[in-house]
């Protein structure tokens, strides 16, 4: 249920810039998040996602630009704002000696109004771990506890910075359910991730961020549709002979061709249209096929098209 485009803005960021000693982390970044929306900042490590979200959370001051959160500004309404936000930072370690319930109760005590400890512990499915020390929890449980501490103030806007990084598939799905549920109650979520499947699954709209800028913005479907490709074909060939990119682009239905290492990625109108001519061409050139895969285009393909790099390239 995408938020209507007339809903009030929960977050408005204009011309944001933040530089550290040796690097510009965020450069002229604009964002608008509507109330009730789940908005994703998608990009590789070091793209400036965390810096952006921490400025929005009031934890960092920007060098330039304006940030308006829930119609308020940090400099003027800091305290009022904090009680309406729920925040999960990328690498917070809660006190290991406290139990799950004690930790949530501590965070609850900071907010003038909020949810009950039992409700939130139930929401993140930690009822059985209520009395366990934080130090004994698994990674997924700790992450759900962090989200519980973010939810206990009954926030209108939830900021999640890489909530599922490093978690096993089951823990990821549990967190997705929590976020879905928050959204179904009308809450606004801004999350960062470098998993495309997570962004596609959770987000109403996605901003693809690279080198501190938004390079593309839209619903996941819009972004994927913008490729104009019905399918993506990946193939590898054996042998030392080079294929000409122009030759590939000349094949029927090919929109674009990228090479990564020994394999090629083609974005095509339809797989059944291109594959026969591709195989024929390779055979004519005497190049044996070593692998061939097709899939529907994903946000990853969007990122590759926009930047020529893969999302998870750490370079």
């Amino acid at each position: 249920m995408p938020a209507s485009s007339t809903a009030p803005l929960a977050l408005a960021v204009r011309g944001l810039r933040k530089a550290y000693a040796d690097v510009v982390a965020v450069d002229a970044l604009d964002l608008e998040v509507r109330s009730g929306e789940c908005f994703g900042l998608l990009g590789p490590n070091g793209a400036g996602k965390t810096t952006t979200i921490e400025i929005c959370e009031g934890l960092l001051n920007p060098d330039a630009g304006t940030v308006e959160v829930l119609g308020m500004q940090w400099a003027r309404d800091g305290n009022a704002l904090r009680s309406r936000l729920g925040i999960q930072l990328q690498e917070t370690l809660l006190s290991e000696k406290l139990t799950v319930a004690e930790s949530v109760k501590l965070f609850r005590s900071f907010y003038p109004a909020g949810r009950s400890v039992d409700e939130v512990v139930g929401l993140v499915q930690l009822d059985e771990k209520r009395g366990s020390r934080v130090g004994t929890l698994s990674g997924g449980q700790k992450q759900r506890l962090a989200v519980a501490c973010a939810l206990v103030g009954d926030p209108d806007l939830l900021f999640l910075d890489e909530p599922t990084t490093g978690l096993d598939p089951q823990s990821r799905r549990q967190l997705w359910d929590i976020i879905d549920r928050f959204r179904s109650e009308g809450g606004t979520t801004v999350l960062t991730t470098h998993y495309m499947d997570e962004a596609e699954r959770l987000c109403d709209r996605v901003a693809i961020v690279d080198h501190g800028r938004v390079i593309s913005l839209g619903t996941p479907r819009e972004l994927i549709a913008s490729l104009g490709a019905g399918h993506v074909i990946e193939f590898g060939v054996d042998g030392s002979r080079e294929i000409d990119e122009a030759a590939l682009l000349a094949l029927a239905g090919v929109k674009s061709a990228h090479r990564a290492g020994g394999s090629w990625t083609l974005q095509v109108r339809a797989a059944h249209e291109t594959i026969p001519v591709l195989l024929q061409t390779l055979e004519t050139h005497g190049m044996p096929l070593t692998e061939l895969r097709t899939h529907s285009p994903t946000l990853e393909d969007v990122f590759v098209t926009l930047t020529g790099r893969s999302l998870r390239d750490d370079a």
């Binding site: 249920m1 938020a3 209507s4 809903a7 109330s35 009730g36 959370e57 009031g58 934890l59 305290n79 904090r82 009680s83 936000l85 925040i87 930072l89 690498e91 917070t92 370690l93 809660l94 006190s95 000696k97 406290l98 004690e102 109760k105 501590l106 965070f107 609850r108 005590s109 900071f110 907010y111 003038p112 109004a113 909020g114 949810r115 009950s116 020390r133 501490c149 103030g153 009954d154 209108d156 179904s184 109650e185 009308g186 809450g187």
Partner: protein
């Protein structure tokens, strides 16, 4: 349709004040760490007990002497056996020589046929010289010597002047310093390292309440710390408590806050436990050495005294001793209290200014 969140009723009941939850967290983090409990409560008592036993005041020791068997029936021997402060063994000549050589006796008395008496002893040994005086006095008295000047002895053992009396207030001061600086410093640097401080300031939590929770925790712990150490010293060793209890409480509270302020200042910026730990040792080491915990700070050269007297632990130890051992008036501890309060104010002021929450 997106549900309208503005009409939601938020639950404002069922909430404990933040300062209570924060202080409770301090206690939970403390008592769930058994090592911390040991160092704060048990260690000072073990130390006081060990020192009290090692340096206890012994009763005056009797002189052990030997008399040669050949003269066992001499009237001299008889008079020595009845003299106080002398324990007499009758031994063969060879056995007596061996006993003297091995230090079992301090002196060998050999009465001669002529009526004179020979003393054999090692002049280099203090107990031998003492034995020589005590024995000679008994011998001369038995021979009829009279004291030309009459004397009267009054024996005194003053509570409050023993080593244990000196060391218990010193240990108390050292304990206040250690738990103030370590207890606050480590907890804060640890929270910063874990990015917990950053997470906390993203909530509407009051930063002042967060820091205050450490002080409330320290002050509550202080009651237990002071009571155990003083209780132990008083009950086991009879260490006196001559000053007013109010004054003692105020000295302890101000000292604890001052050391807490120093701990806060040390913890204001470091991002690692190692960095903070080095700073803490740098700050505490001079005070362990100079501030008169185990021996009087007066032993250091006069030129160093202004520096030593300005150290917070010196002021704390002096004030505690003045209160407990001398029952000092307010005026007598005024200087020390002024030094303690100055440290408190300066360190807190600097710490709040320099404090790094991220």
């Amino acid at each position: 349709m997106t549900p309208d969140r503005s009409t939601r009723v938020k639950n404002t009941t069922d909430n404990t004040p933040a300062i209570v939850e924060l202080t409770l967290s301090r206690f939970r983090e403390f008592y769930r760490e058994p090592e911390a409990v040991f160092w704060v409560f048990i260690f000072p008592i073990l130390l006081a007990g060990g020192l009290g036993i090692a340096f206890r005041n012994r009763p005056a020791e009797a002189s052990h002497i030997a008399v040669a068997r050949s003269a066992a029936n001499s009237p001299v021997v008889d008079s020595l056996k009845h003299a106080s402060g002398i324990v007499v063994d009758v031994l063969d000549d060879t056995a007596a020589a061996a006993a003297l050589r091995t230090g079992k006796v301090a002196l060998v008395v050999v009465p001669r046929a002529s009526g004179s008496v020979e003393y054999r002893f090692d002049e280099a040994r203090p107990e031998s010289r003492t034995a020589r005086m005590v024995v000679d006095r008994a011998v001369q008295r038995a021979g009829g010597q009279q004291d030309p000047v009459p004397v009267a002895d009054t024996k005194v053992s003053e509570r409050g002047s023993r080593y244990i009396d000196f060391v218990v207030p010193g240990l108390l001061g050292m304990n206040l310093m250690g738990s103030g600086i370590w207890g606050i410093g480590f907890a804060i640097v640890d929270a910063r390292k874990k990015k917990l401080l950053k997470r906390l300031i993203a909530t509407p939590m009051s930063r002042a309440e967060y820091l205050a929770s450490f002080l409330f925790f320290r002050l509550s712990l202080l009651v237990i710390e002071v009571a155990t150490l003083i209780g132990f010293g008083t009950l086991v060793f009879g260490v006196p408590l001559r000053g007013s209890l109010t004054q003692l409480v105020i000295i302890c509270v101000l000292s604890s806050l001052a050391f807490g302020g120093i701990g806060l200042l040390i913890a204001a910026r470091p991002r690692t436990i190692e960095g903070a730990s080095g700073l803490m040792n740098l700050v505490m080491l001079p005070m362990w050495v100079f501030s008169g915990v185990f021996f009087s700070s007066g032993n250091f050269p006069k030129a160093a005294q202004p520096f030593i007297q300005a150290l917070p632990l010196t002021a704390v130890n002096d004030a505690l001793r003045a209160n407990m051992l001398q029952g000092a008036s307010w005026g007598a501890v005024g200087g020390e209290l002024a030094i303690i309060v100055t440290w408190l104010v300066v360190c807190f002021g600097l710490a709040l200014r320099l404090f790094r929450w991220r």
